[in-house]
Assembly symmetry: C2
Amino acid sequence: MTDLNNFFKSAFTVDNVIFGFDEADLKVLLIKRGEEPYKDTWALPGYFVYPNENLDEAAGRVLEELTGLQNVFLEQVKTFGAVNRHPFGRVITVAYFSLVKINAYNVQAASIASDAEWHSVSDVKDLPFDHMEILKACFNRLKWSIRTRPVGFELLPPKFTLTELQHLYEAILETPLEKRNFRKKILSMNLLIDLEESQEGVAHRPARLYQFDPEKYRQFLSEGFIFELKETKKRDNRRKLQEV
Amino acid sequence: MTDLNNFFKSAFTVDNVIFGFDEADLKVLLIKRGEEPYKDTWALPGYFVYPNENLDEAAGRVLEELTGLQNVFLEQVKTFGAVNRHPFGRVITVAYFSLVKINAYNVQAASIASDAEWHSVSDVKDLPFDHMEILKACFNRLKWSIRTRPVGFELLPPKFTLTELQHLYEAILETPLEKRNFRKKILSMNLLIDLEESQEGVAHRPARLYQFDPEKYRQFLSEGFIFELKETKKRDNRRKLQEV
DNA sequence: GAGAATTAGTGTAAAAAATACACATTTAAA
DNA sequence: TTTAAATGTGTATTTTTTACACTAATTCTC
């Protein structure tokens, strides 16, 4: 144990599941791999962790090289290290997901990728390595995170309508929500600023614009409140026979 | 990218936060390190991941070498890889926690440890490396897990009383619970078998013994129910002034 | 500029869940 | 037989969740 060099060492990477939200659909940014193995296949972006780099930094770098974006929401999800997950040797990867405002995204030709493209999460069926498993783990974590912390706003433009917010929740949770109850719940947390502005350029009654207020959220937390959108729980609909 | 050998490789370990529950206290199994760095200091058990070993297997091996136990509940929590977390070089570690029935535990002299001992989690204040941070992350995950999945039973003997179960929840959640409501909630989930036996050898009214039924839990899940013990949420006690 | 189309925005009653709370019961020990 | 100790139970109140349908505001079309 005294000399680390005597020990087995593994190649060490991060993979980053980059989520975006475009009107009605949750998207994930995939790259077309430029090199073997799986050349020309759509895959999750990822790269080696450099010796002088923390894990979060590596994940942030992968994202920045691909999109040009900095200071983006990033969360570590799980580490995948099955012995045979990479055909060329032992490669252990830490999976992250990040949330980007899809409009702020700029395609850049990253060295590793010959191409990058948004795909609807629900359409992604085949990915190389164990990337399907990684995507699922990150998607599940996102489902969880959006119910317990105000992270949904990371996927929306700074000004948004409550309907847009609801559509985002519906896309991530993969379930329809009831409009009045959703609005009541969200507004009752008092985390949004009503901008007293309206949408423009829509062919119907324009909606009010809101903004998430991180300062109000800090306050909310310091007062001991908990952000929570309940998981839709199946009810027990069994009823006793009624007497007539 | 084609030749993994050209890339930086890191030493790669697992650390395992082994929890046990002893009557009233949540405990963690620490080892006294037998080697530098931090020789003779209490620390979390951990070891290198072998080339032919998956991560879960490595964590299970660490546990088995230390306690002799197999098939124990194990959950991956988070990977820690700060550049300078280990003084001898870059060491990235995947943190797991496991839940053991403290009575089933057998001390074994593990090669890495000169000693192993249960410590009350609340008493552990100093640990080497970033082990305090790892312990906290695992403890927080356990708090979460015990509220959302029936994992508490892993820490209790197969037959237990509802009072023991409540004490376990209180120890992990670090908050007192109301007896009647706790029992009502737990029993209403219908996951326990009432063994129609009683405690023996206690100097007061003996309590009924129960057993967790994994088969009932599978049923419960397949019917779409969700295991959930609500987080105690701070209430808003502000009241409007009353008219007299 | 009248009417149609479209989406925004709102309130309330009913059901379910969570909470607060106190005493009788059972056993072993003295 | 009494005492000590922990078990086990029921109900009323409050809070939260759910279900549900119409009016309002705007643009577009004719």
